[in-house]
């Protein structure tokens, strides 16, 4: 199998799926986030539980939802709570500590803080994004968060235009000093690489580059200084992973998009 056999989007999805462990309760957003959770459940973590901020717990997902309020998240769930129930579930340490969350972002800084609000000045932005949604809440509450982002220099920035969802804030013990519990984004998965928060420096470092992507290409597409000393090549998707992802998780390619040309 060569790099041409799968798309970057497939690789991203599977890299996130691999972060999920059996027994994890997986907080899903819209799009690639729910696809990664669905893939994990079918591949490596059959006893993981998918849940949504809209309040559905252990949704069956006979079809892929295109939004977290899609009626497809309602069918066959164990229980339907409210928006408030879903966030209380994460804020409460007894249940919240078992949650792993998958979030999207428009900008990430070296400490894993996320911007999903705007580019430019908040009051009159050059580009406005949808805003926090549950992102700020989840990043505040959940010990393990995965962020998805396209790997572009303007997205990996030294300083966010707006800090929507707290990671390590300005590093060190800033997060705890602000009153937040330990947690926030610990790993960023892009179309080129996996970046992880170093427990000492509390900064993102380059952990894995995808097959066929050079470290140099990654560094050039990252807007802040990146520790690359520990980088290794990511394991490409296995044939089984790809088969299950394509045939069982998103056969309509609603989220995966166009297939690989190779």
């Amino acid at each position: 199998m060569t790099a041409q056999d799968y798309t970057p989007r497939e690789m991203m999805t599977l890299m996130a799926a691999r972060e999920i462990r059996n027994g994890d309760i997986v907080f899903c957003g819209t799009g690639i986030s729910v696809l990664a959770a669905a893939a994990a459940k079918k591949i490596n973590a059959p006893e993981s539980v998918i849940f949504f901020e809209t309040g559905a717990v252990d949704s069956r997902l006979a079809e892929l939802p295109i939004a977290v309020a899609d009626p497809r998240v309602m069918h066959g769930a164990a229980a339907h709570g409210s928006l408030l129930d879903a966030f209380a579930f994460m804020q409460n340490r007894i249940t919240g500590d078992r949650v792993i969350a998958i979030l999207g972002a428009a900008q990430v800084d070296p400490f894993g803080n996320l911007n999903t609000t705007c580019i430019g000045d908040f009051e009159r932005p050059a580009v406005r994004f949808p805003g926090s949604g549950g992102g700020c809440d989840v990043a505040s509450f959940v010990p393990r968060c995965i962020a998805f982002m396209q790997h572009e220099k303007r997205k990996f920035v030294e300083r966010l235009d707006y800090l929507t969802s707290p990671g390590g804030l300005c590093g060190g013990d800033a997060r705890e000093a602000a009153g937040l519990r330990p947690g926030g984004v610990g790993v960023v998965i892009t179309n080129k690489a996996v970046l992880r928060i170093d427990s000492g420096s509390r900064r993102l470092f380059l952990e894995q580059h995808y097959p066929g992507v050079t470290v140099r290409e990654i560094v050039e597409n990252t807007g802040f200084v990146l520790d690359v000393s520990r980088v290794r090549e990511a394991l490409p998707p296995t044939a089984d992973e790809l088969r299950i992802l394509r045939q069982k998780c998103d056969p309509q390619r609603l989220i995966l998009g166009p297939p690989a040309s190779g």
Binding site: A67, A69, R181
Partner: protein, 322 residues
């Protein structure tokens, strides 16, 4: 027994004034009170102050309809059709509306505080974030307007010491809208409501509100709803008006009744990106029809039939959504 049923247009006329503070139910592409929203646009309501969490479809239409001056919101995206709602984005970037940002949980808590009758509720969300730091409504604007709290959010040391494993909390102020508009599966003429599937924040929005306008798929006999009172989430004392509007959530989904119309939402998003095409869209689907029933007729029975929910799953299984 007070009969609160009335035509939707009359309910809007009676309760939604220009400049009113309103909240709308639903979430992105699900159970938005679309018939009520289209009726507000048709009646050219102006100057609304809108409280929203992730009320995608409906709020974007209201903004596009020129109804909204101020918006307090957590999320303005609409699934695959519009990662950021298009009229929202345009209005914010062009400074046409004033926006204050919160998170979904904060907005949910603000409605809950309003429903509970307390001035605020605490959370551990957002400490250290720009949601807590940056204010869309200035301190001057807040002080001038008695309908706004003087502070957006307040960070406070935990008065119980380290109890609850928290050193600080963020306090979010209560919201009490003038009117909340929701669309539910079933209601009776007294106003008692039953929601199937996820309730989102509809219940808290309704209970926080001075008036509630309910549109419903099915107008049931009170005796029917009272057979299983535990399934009725909103009791009649909270409700001002009940309007029987089948397909009143269209083009958003209503669990166990019909799915969202992915094609309508996609066409909306495409039209919204261009001012001229958007005016054509509004002319055709809102101003050019006299009611929701007329809008539905224009959609056509065949297309609606394809959206009708499978009794097993509650949505239109195998519908074309790509």
């Amino acid at each position: 027994m007070e009969d609160k049923s009335l035509p939707l247009g009359e309910a809007i006329d009676r309760y939604v004034r220009d400049g009113a503070h309103i909240a709308v139910g639903g979430f992105t592409l699900n159970r938005n009170p679309m018939a009520a929203i289209y009726e507000m646009i048709r009646r050219r309501i102006r100057g609304l102050h809108v409280y929203a969490h992730s009320n995608g479809t409906g709020v974007d239409e209201l903004i596009g309809g020129g109804c909204v001056d101020r918006l307090e919101i957590a999320y303005a995206g609409n699934g695959k059709a519009a990662p950021t709602c298009i009229r929202f984005r345009k209005a914010v970037q062009e400074g046409q509306i004033a926006v204050e940002d919160y998170s979904n949980y904060m907005m949910g808590l603000r409605f809950l505080a309003g429903a509970m009758g307390v001035p605020f509720l605490p959370t551990l969300s957002g400490l250290g974030s720009d949601i807590a730091e940056k204010w869309g409504f200035s301190a001057e604007m807040r002080q001038r307007d008695p309908r706004l709290p003087d502070d957006k959010l307040i960070t406070m040391e935990n008065p119980f010491g380290a109890w609850g494993d928290a050193s600080r909390v963020l306090l979010v102020p209560a919201v009490n809208p003038d009117v909340t508009l929701i669309h539910v599966q079933t209601a009776d003429v007294m106003g008692t409501c039953r929601i199937d599937g996820l309730a989102f924040a509809d219940i808290e929005q309704a209970k926080a509100s001075r008036h509630v306008i309910v549109t419903c798929e099915v107008l049931a006999a009170p005796e029917t709803l009272r057979g299983e009172p535990e399934r009725n989430q909103i009791a009649f004392p909270h409700v001002s008006a009940v309007c029987h509007v089948p397909w009143g959530g269209y083009p958003t989904a209503v669990f166990r009744h019909y799915d969202y119309d992915a094609e309508f939402l996609r066409n909306y998003a495409a039209a919204a990106a261009d001012d001229r095409r958007f005016r054509e869209y509004q002319e055709r689907w809102i101003y050019g029809v006299e009611s929701h029933a007329a809008l539905l007729e224009q959609v056509g029975g065949k297309r609606l039939a394809a959206l009708t929910a499978d009794p097993e799953t509650g949505y239109a299984a195998h519908a074309k959504r790509g």
